[in-house]
Amino acid sequence: MKQLLFAFLLITILPMGSKAQGLKPGDEAPAFSLKNVDGRTISLDDFADSKGVILIFTCNHCPYSIAYEDRIIALDKKFKPLGWPVVAINPNDPSVQPLDSFEKMQERAAEKGFTFPYLFDEGQKIFPQYGATRTPHVFLLQNMKDKFVVRYIGAIDNNYEDETLADRKYVEEAITALEAGQMPATSFTKAIGCSVKVKK
């Protein structure tokens, strides 16, 4: 009986544990068209003239996202002039995490002076296509003219706690490699983050 119960529990728990198949480096980036904090709609196609896009799933409430906010602004300031702008997307359902509502996003963007679009994944249709599992979660996209291709997935650097102690700046290293016509030496990293908030 116990065995049976265990088997039953195992079957019921499995769907919770299974993850949507995410993108891998080399995959084509799915298109999106989402509302920005300034009210405009921003699409991936709008960046047809850039070399690429630093796409970052992030949000207001998560302490790891907050710890990286200044570094995200710095990335945009450094790389937008070189043709690699930051685009941030909040993937969370505000009915689960009210601090991540569109209005709160507008407030946060104004407070911090975000220099990049901060988009709302309304209906949560985009994050599963990328396979974003946490915030912050970076997808570095290279513009191949007919499509955008994922070149790096993971963390911004290797120290969430203290930027000055980070001795691997994964996103910067990847862009530097791509600028030199090479593939990034590190194309995938893992990081602790806040899970994307969805209704149960």
Binding site: K2, L5, F6, L9, I13, M16, G17, K19, H61, C62, P63, A67, Q97, T133, R134, G154, A155, N158, N159, Y160, E161, D162, L165, T189, K190, A191, I192, G193, C194, S195, V196, K197
Partner: protein, 148 residues
């Protein structure tokens, strides 16, 4: 980083090497490592299940450790007050290892990096779940993994 274990009230601050040492013990005690943080809502929701399991299995060879991934700078301001407010008696270790890419796979290659996540170890066997537990399920897993 060569920081020795430091006691901060109820919390022990540890390096990944120290955590790994505990994960690699191969005796017949079932160790349950629950990775959580005060800011993680589902972690806080499932915490009573771990506290309850700690009581239910107190006479058996079960050791439950709450491994906090709170930021080191939030130790005094958030973690310690949380433990005191919720009267948590289970051991709480703050994992001070900000290069997560270096150790996530060493806890489990299955781990994507979100929390809550829980690792069970006993006699060299490892079982990993990146999910929020319900109390009955947690108990049934502990019972199952305690069997020789």
């Amino acid at each position: 980083m060569a920081n020795a274990q430091m006691a901060h009230g109820p919390v022990k601050v540890i390096t990944f090497a120290e955590l790994q040492q505990e994960m690699n013990i191969q005796d017949d005690t079932l160790r349950v490592f629950n990775f959580w943080a005060t800011w993680c809502k589902p972690c806080v929701e499932e915490m009573p299940c771990f506290t309850e399991a700690g009581k239910s299995f107190s006479q058996q060879k079960v050791k439950i450790i709450l491994v906090s991934l709170d930021l080191r700078k939030h130790l005094e301001s958030r973690l310690v007050p949380f433990i005191e407010k919720n009267q948590i008696s289970l051991p709480v270790w703050l994992l001070d290892a900000p290069d997560a890419n270096a150790w996530i796979d060493r806890v489990s290659p299955q781990w994507e990096g979100s929390i809550p996540a829980t690792l069970f170890t006993r006699q060299g066997q490892k079982y990993f779940y990146e999910t929020q537990f319900e109390c009955n399920l947690l108990k049934s897993y502990i019972n199952q993994y305690l069997k020789p």
